[in-house]
């Protein structure tokens, strides 16, 4: 089963336009790789230099997260390069990313996932808060961030449409 990514949508109508989109995306992939390498490298350096008060577990998390996003960036960069060199595959990928039905599916999946995420956040925060009060504060902060970003985005698109 193929699942299209949340940020993969495009309006490119030709292979040439889509190639430009992929070139722009590749810049983001390089930035992702560098950010990942920086996060993992900093955690490793801090651990080896003994200059961190972070527990072993947190260093592992930072290393894993950094290595993960760097690797994801590298894989997507290679994939995009392969696509750009093959007209048939490029066209197939362009159609799957620009198809209005697939974009509608992706939008609906995003809305459902968002509702589940907010619900999980609130329930998790309320239950977790019984044992760790910081979790309630975290929940309130994240729900506020969501609410504010929703209002901001809503007003932005209201002005655009």
């Amino acid at each position: 089963m193929k699942v299209r990514g949340i940020f993969c949508g495009t309006t490119a109508a030709t292979n040439e336009e889509y190639r430009t989109v992929l070139k722009r995306r590749n810049i983001w992939m390089v930035i992702l790789m560098l950010a990942g390498a920086l996060i993992a490298g900093s955690a490793l350096y801090a651990e080896q230099a003994g200059k961190t008060a972070l527990p072993e577990y947190s260093i592992g998390v930072y290393c894993g997260f950094g290595a993960g996003i760097a690797l994801a960036g590298l894989i997507l960069l290679i994939r995009n390069m392969i696509l750009m060199g093959n007209e048939g595959k490029l066209k197939q990928d362009r159609l799957e990313n620009s198809d209005e039905r697939i974009r509608e599916i992706s939008n609906r999946a995003c809305r459902s996932s968002l509702a589940i995420l907010v619900l999980a956040l609130v329930v998790g925060g309320m239950i977790g808060g019984i044992f760790e009060p910081i979790l309630v504060k975290m929940m309130i902060l994240l729900v506020d961030v969501f609410g504010l970003s929703y209002i901001g985005s809503y007003n932005y698109y209201k002005r655009k449409m």
Partner: protein, 69 residues
């Protein structure tokens, strides 16, 4: 909303793949449109009608009750 895509496609001997290629969508989208599982946007409806050289209202039939018209 009903469509006459399948009728026109068969009449003109056009495959789903050819139509999908011409209007820049996947074959699955054409299948969903023909089955009535998905409603085309105005732009896609226009492209399909233009491909068959007919008016949009000839290709897509709006159900007055369903669409609250």
């Amino acid at each position: 909303m009903q469509t006459k895509i399948m009728e026109y496609r068969k009449e003109r001997k056009v495959t789903q793949e050819e139509l999908a290629d011409a209007v820049n969508v996947t074959r699955q989208t054409i299948i969903s449109l023909e089955n009535g599982k998905y409603k085309a946007s105005l732009v896609l409806a226009h492209k399909i009608a233009q491909f068959f050289e007919v008016a949009i209202e000839e290709m897509f039939i709006f159900d007055r009750e369903d669409e609250n018209l």
